[in-house]
Amino acid sequence: MLPLSIKDDEYKPAKFNLFVKLSGWFRSILADKTSRNLFFFLCLNLSFAFVELMYGIWSNSLGLISDSFHMFFDCTALLAGLAASVISRWRSNDSFSYGYVRAEVLAGFVNGLFLIFTAFFIFSEGVERALEPPDVHHERLLPVSIAGLLVNLVGIFVFQHGGHGHSHDGEGHGHSHSLFNGSVGHGHSHGGHGHSHESKHGHDHGHDHGHSHGGHGHSHDDPHCHDDHSHTPGKGSSKQILQGVFLHIVADTLGSVGVIISAILMQKYDLMIADPVCSMLIALLIGVSVVPLLRESIGILMQRTPPSLDHALPECYQRVQQLQGVYNLQEPHFWTLCTDVYIGTLKLLVAPDADSRWILSQTHNIFTQVGVRQLYVQVDVAAM
């Protein structure tokens, strides 16, 4: 008996080679602009935290140490984003038949949750402090928070532009995943390659010139990365990751701004209440700004019908039902795989004498026009 499916022989024990793996990760991180940005910003943040920790231990200041731990915690958000942007580029395999693209939604969700937690903690702390304002010694606070603000400002600039550049990459990427799997995907990525490469080329040029920020010295990598781009099928991390990370950085920035303002207020006017009020305000701001991200990602994770299709779908159902021979349309499920990739399943009840192939292709056509990339239509023939 010949094995008819090729699935059986893929259970190879993975050879664990740390170095190879690490370098592979590293390369894949550097391959994409978003993850590269994330990575460098993570490095910047981590080094800042380490410097702070070292200085804190050296000068034996508890405040600095705890602040550095807070920075580490912040880094987890970046780390999550980075991991997601790497993971989402993994190929789909047997178990994960859709690939790992959902990781980006998940990362956005996790980031949003973390932010909510942080906002909550800050808020409760603020309330506590408003009830009995503690003595804050603000000598050391100002320089540290200004430095943190600078770091975060860099992050804001980087990610704002990163988000723009990649906002429409999702399509090409989703394309490659949704319609083709395995070996077929290769063929496609070749086909689509010319197109996506060109657009990306333009983008990268524009951005890297403006924003590589001189001091980092990774401008060398860029031409190399262009080559990488052409190898990997067009992938860009979606807006979910970016939005999450961006929000996180904005929250941090707001935090440092708040600390600076309250430190100044406390120094100049002795307004001890300024600190808790500032932190409560910031917590509220963070909480409010996170809500849309959370709502969106929860919707995606719960397989909600994509909001952008909400209005288009009834019309499509209508058109499908008007096709000749279609009696009824049952169990329509539409959901979002990742940004801009919509998947749908339908069951059509058709007349016994209907041309099911024609109906099938017409249905595909109708839904492709609204943007449903991957459609499964089961044609059931009505019993007469």
Binding site: S5, L62, Y98, Y100, L106, H188, L337, L346, Q378
Partner: protein, 776 residues
């Protein structure tokens, strides 16, 4: 004046948000607001006047002035038809009634103070009528009206009970000589007879007067038509009541000496009151009722009135206005002001809410969602599903329903009981903490409360899981369970991280801990949490049976390690917890779903973490007490943080896998087997894009493309394949069949380049397969 304009702006801004009236209506609404402000102003003023002027005199002057102005403007005698004698009698009755009501109202004003009078007395008829219809008829107009009535009653009760107004207590011990008329005395004795305190008597009086006023307004509607317009009736009635009051006033001023030094100083305030309370309000209200709808007018009117009443009550006692009044009326004692209290504020809020609900027109037409267009072109609406879910529901019924739902199923019942236990413990702790004034206990209580949020989340998720699928959430809400488990897990991770950091800083610099209070509290917490563990571990055994290899949280949960089926966990469950006896319901509820419940696992882990925390506190307290090792505390918490961290990881991993749409690991083998079987079905060339993923505990969705030979009956293949996959556990399946001709169709249609490319590739692979089958 300044403040008036600013509040004008504010109110119109709010209107824009609420209903966005067009510009012309906005004008009327602003006018209405201005009038209501004036009216509130007038009522505050008249409260001050009533301290010096006798109530009957006051009323007489009001009616008299009003009648003079109205007769001058309205000309009731010269215009319109003659009024027969019979109607004069009616008008007389009308006037007497209105006198009585105004007397009651103003008497209530002297008892309760202006703000409370505004809140109680100045409701429009629409509100009161719908309130009464809710209270005394069976069909009140739906749950929202019931809610409004409940709010109204709560507001009145708030005024009665929670309004500790000092002045009213003072007035309760009134000397006998205080009463200066028979009427006042009668009312006082009446109130005393009812057995309530004075200001409460005032509240009751005002409510009664309100009801009377509404009944009176309704009854006089017919008369006003007969007379020829409400305005004419109003003018005539005012005139007649002034005439009726005249003899009384004469007798009164003859028998008692007035407290008023100079009447001339009072002319201005009287004119002001007459203008604002009696005339302007009447005219503007009638205009607005004509221009806007009645309900809207009533709603805005009362809301504006309350708001401006609150505003004025805030500023009336202000020194500046006080000074102004002292200048205009010297000899006025200003100590007897009714202060703003919390009860009044709360009840004002409730009144505003109640009014806006009660005066809302009862909407019969419900909104549906547009589904599409029928072949004839008429729009089709969907009234089921989401539209019905968003309709307002009566609160008690909602609570009852959700309680029933909670108690229906094992999981949610368990969470609910534990939540109640936890909350009870927390409140005991909080109360004890407040009582003994111990900050540590209070903060611990708040921490417990915070922990309860995880339970609440779990409970909510357990409820939500059972919601029906809607058009938007076409797979149902089953995913909530996994999301909630995921969130709980993440939450625990964050907590563990913070505990870790905190204990690291404490290892470096161990603080002195006050250990006296800790032990009993943490022992109590431990007991509560142990109960929780016992309750949940059972559910957890189901969850863990799925092959999570957590290394730490067992003792109860480690049976069935690595086995995928429900049977195993049944066995393990019997073995570990013989005494529970819930096995039936639970096994049943999970029979279809393969036994995965991330939600319960998350809750369980949370409780476990809490337990570990209390154990750690107890151990470290003992160590510190016995040996004085201050370092024990941070080390304990380090250890616990690590434990929590490690025990959460499997949960997170599983939840992530589900969220990432992994093929369910426990069905992996069966699915592979099923796919092999599908290959062997007659007529099937190959399959493509097999996607199987778990949506929730009970739903595994799957999609697959099948390539068929061109001469097969499609329906039979669909049936066979779906039977095979259903055996493998997939219960939401879509199969797309493709024959060779399909690709030609697709490529002939307006499909893009990529699609054509794949088509050709597919065709090639199909050829290959065809060859393969031919060889075979």
């Amino acid at each position: 004046m300044d403040e008036k304009y600013s509040s004008n702006v504010i109110s119109s801004g709010k209107l824009g948000r609420v209903e966005a009236p067009d510009a012309r209506l906005t004008r009327y609404i602003v006018l209405l607001y201005f009038t209501k402000l004036m009216k509130a102003f007038g009522i505050f003023e008249s409260y001050d006047l009533l301290k010096v002027v006798h109530i009957v005199q006051f009323l007489f002057i009001l009616k008299m002035g009003c009648a003079m102005i109205l007769v001058f403007f309205q000309k009731p005698f010269s215009s319109g038809k003659m009024i027969p004698k019979r109607q004069w009698i009616k008008i007389f009755k009308h006037a007497v009634m209105s006198c009585v009501i105004s007397l009651l109202g103003f008497f209530g004003l002297t008892l309760c103070g202006p703000l409370r009078t505004l809140l109680l007395f100045e409701h429009s008829d629409v509100v009161v009528i719908s309130l009464l219809s809710v209270l005394f008829t069976s069909s009140g107009g739906g749950p929202s009206k019931t809610r409004g009535a409940a709010l109204f009653i709560i507001a009145v009760i708030c005024l009665l009970l929670f309004d500790n107004d000092d002045l009213m207590a003072k007035m309760a011990e009134h000397p006998e000589g205080h009463h200066d008329s028979a009427l006042t005395h009668a009312l006082y004795t009446g109130i005393a007879f009812l057995g309530v305190a004075d200001h409460k008597g005032g509240v009751v009086l005002l409510v009664l007067a309100l009801c009377l006023k509404v009944a009176f307004n309704t009854a006089s509607r017919k008369l006003s038509v007969e007379i020829g317009g409400a305005k004419r009736l109003y003018a005539l009635s005012n005139l007649v009541s002034a005439v009726v009051l005249l003899p009384w006033v004469i007798v009164l001023s003859a028998t008692t000496e007035s407290k008023v030094e100079s009447w001339s100083g009072l002319i201005l305030p009287f004119a002001m009151i007459i203008f604002s309370v009696m005339i302007l309000d009447f005219y503007v209200e009638s205009i607005c009722t004509a221009k806007l709808e009645t309900s809207r007018c009533a709603r805005y009117g009362s809301i504006f009135l309350f708001l401006s009443g609150l505003l004025l009550a805030n500023f009336w006692t202000h020194p500046l206005t006080d000074q102004l009044r002292v200048i205009s009326k010297p000899g006025q004692q200003s100590s007897t002001e009714h202060v703003l209290s919390g009860g009044v504020l709360v009840s004002a809020c409730f009144f505003i809410m109640a009014d806006s609900i009660l005066s809302a027109p009862s909407s019969k037409g419900q909104k549906g969602t547009l589904v599409g267009y029928s072949p004839e072109g008429t729009p089709l609406y969907n009234f089921m599903g989401d539209a019905l879910q968003h309709t307002s529901q009566s609160l008690p019924r909602f609570i009852k329903d959700s309680l029933k739902q909670i108690l229906e199923e094992y999981d949610s019942r368990q969470i609910f009981y534990f939540l109640c236990l936890n909350l009870a413990f927390t409140f005991v702790e909080l109360f004890y903490g407040v009582w003994t004034n111990s900050l540590g206990l209070i903060s611990d209580g708040f921490h417990m409360l915070f922990d309860c949020s995880a339970l609440v989340l779990g409970l909510f998720a357990a409820l939500m899981t059972r919601w029906k699928a809607t058009r938007i959430y076409s797979y149902g809400y089953g995913r909530v369970e996994i999301l909630s488990g995921f969130i709980n897990g993440l939450f625990l991770m964050v907590i563990a991280f913070f505990v870790f950091v905190e204990s690291v800083t404490r290892v470096i610099d161990p603080p002195n801990i006050n250990t006296d209070m800790l032990t009993p509290v943490s022992v109590g917490g431990l007991l509560v949490n142990l109960v929780g563990i016992c309750a949940f571990s059972h559910a957890h055994s189901h969850g863990a049976s799925k092959g999570s290899c957590s290394g730490h949280d067992h003792g109860h949960s480690h049976h069935g390690h690595g086995h995928g089926s429900a049977e195993h966990s049944h066995g393990g469950h019997g073995h570990s917890h013989g005494g529970h006896g819930h096995s039936h319901g639970h096994g049943h509820s999970h029979g279809g779903g393969g036994g995965m419940n991330a939600n319960m696992r998350g809750v369980f882990l949370h409780v476990l973490a809490d337990t570990l925390g209390s154990v750690g506190v107890i151990i470290s307290t003992l160590l510190i007490k016995q040996f004085g090792w201050l370092i024990a505390d941070p080390i304990c918490s380090l250890f616990i943080a690590t434990l929590i961290f490690l025990s959460v990881i499997p949960l997170l991993k599983d939840a992530c896998e589900v969220l990432l749409l992994r093929t369910p690991p426990e069905n992996d083998k069966e699915l592979n087997f099923a796919l092999e079987k599908i290959q062997k079905i007659e007529g099937v060339l190959s399959y493509r894009d097999p996607h199987f993923w778990r949506h929730s505990a009970s739903v595994i969705a799957g999609t697959i493309h099948l390539q068929l030979m061109s001469d097969v009956v499609e329906q039979r293949v669909i049936q066979q394949v779906s039977a095979v996959l259903k055996d493998a556990g997939v219960n939401n399946l879509t199969i797309q069949l493709e024959k060779e001709a399909y690709f030609q169709h697709m490529s002939g249609l307006s499909t893009g380049f990529h699609e054509v490319l794949t088509m050709t590739q597919q065709m090639e692979s199909m050829k290959y397969y065809k060859d393969g089958t031919c060889i075979m």
